[in-house]
Symmetry: C2
Subunit: 191 residues, 2 copies
């Protein structure tokens, strides 16, 4: 099979247009989540290409510098959104080839299950430590401080409950998600 | 009641320490979600103060410039995390007073229910339009383009399913969330 995106005249204009909007959309999405536009564009290009692509193939597609393509593809690989694949034929220069990870759960699980979950656990621990500290210091406080400490504990308990809920939601999504056909999910229940 | 955070000598060191870690923590959280550290610090200070505070009170607490305190408090008010309150007494200069919105659901609902939900709806619409466009153009395409169009549609259907799931999750959280005692949530079910 040939590369469908090398601008050869036979490509249908509807395909070109769709490719463009998907690059834009995933570029915005990446930007939105604190990554950058180029990462989204590279991911879209790989996701819409039936064959693996080299860095040169990618550079020809997304109108970014070679350095940008190289660096952002590496970052995509690091976060698990892109994987290197072995291409036997037509590879005399030992170029690396990449394809998009199309199992979105794998990407989400790696993103959420790593950084996000660790950060929530850390927040829960800090708040719990603070509550314990104030509870144990209250007996030695004067009346005014003791009253304020009670207020602090109430407020921190509210934040603690909120993070606990966020953690439950996250772990449920991570546990259930990979077993589900995401197109078939019809109900989310919170109780 | 007097202001508990004006540095008067009677404040207990444990309170000072807890106040510091909460400012740091909420500062990081705000930063993380694409806002800035000062917003998180201002919110923490208001959340841990039993009485409304003026911009001058806030400035005395968080060691930021008057302009920064003023601008970030306004942004907090705009996103619904802080509200202006009426203070009768001791207010000859007509200063404005603020308190933290302590109903986290109200804040989350305003953040998620606005920008995020609109963006998901837009993404779903763009993808659906693209699928429709390719489906209707396929009959006029040559064999190679038609095959590629089929591949595009499959990939876009995957992304569509993913956004549909994200929307279901978001709307469920928004609908159920405000009725729940968040500290009591024990189960999230996805099916």
């Amino acid at each position: 099979m040939t590369d469908h995106h090398n601008g050869k005249p036979s490509i249908h204009p509807a395909m070109q247009m769709v490719h463009e909007t998907m690059m834009q959309g995933l570029g915005q999405l990446a930007d939105y989540f604190g990554y950058n536009r180029a990462m989204g564009e590279l991911y879209a290009t790989l996701l819409l290409n039936p064959e693996p692509m080299s860095l040169d193939d990618l550079k020809a597609q997304i109108r970014k510098s070679k350095a940008s393509v190289s660096m952002n593809t590496r970052t995509l690989e690091y976060v698990g959104a892109v994987k290197e694949v072995w291409v036997r034929e037509d590879n005399p220069s030992n170029r690396k080839f990449y394809e998009a990870e199309s199992d979105f759960w794998k990407i989400i699980a790696k993103l959420l299950g790593g950084r996000e979950l660790r950060d929530i656990d850390l927040a829960l621990a800090v708040i719990q430590d603070n509550i314990t500290l104030l509870e144990s210091a209250r007996p030695e406080m004067d009346a005014e401080n003791s009253e304020l400490a009670k207020f602090y504990v109430e407020r921190m308990q509210m934040i603690h409950n909120f993070f606990k809920f966020a953690k439950l939601l996250l772990t449920t999504i991570l546990e259930k998600g990979s077993d589900l056909d995401i197109g078939e999910v019809s109900r989310v229940e919170i109780e």
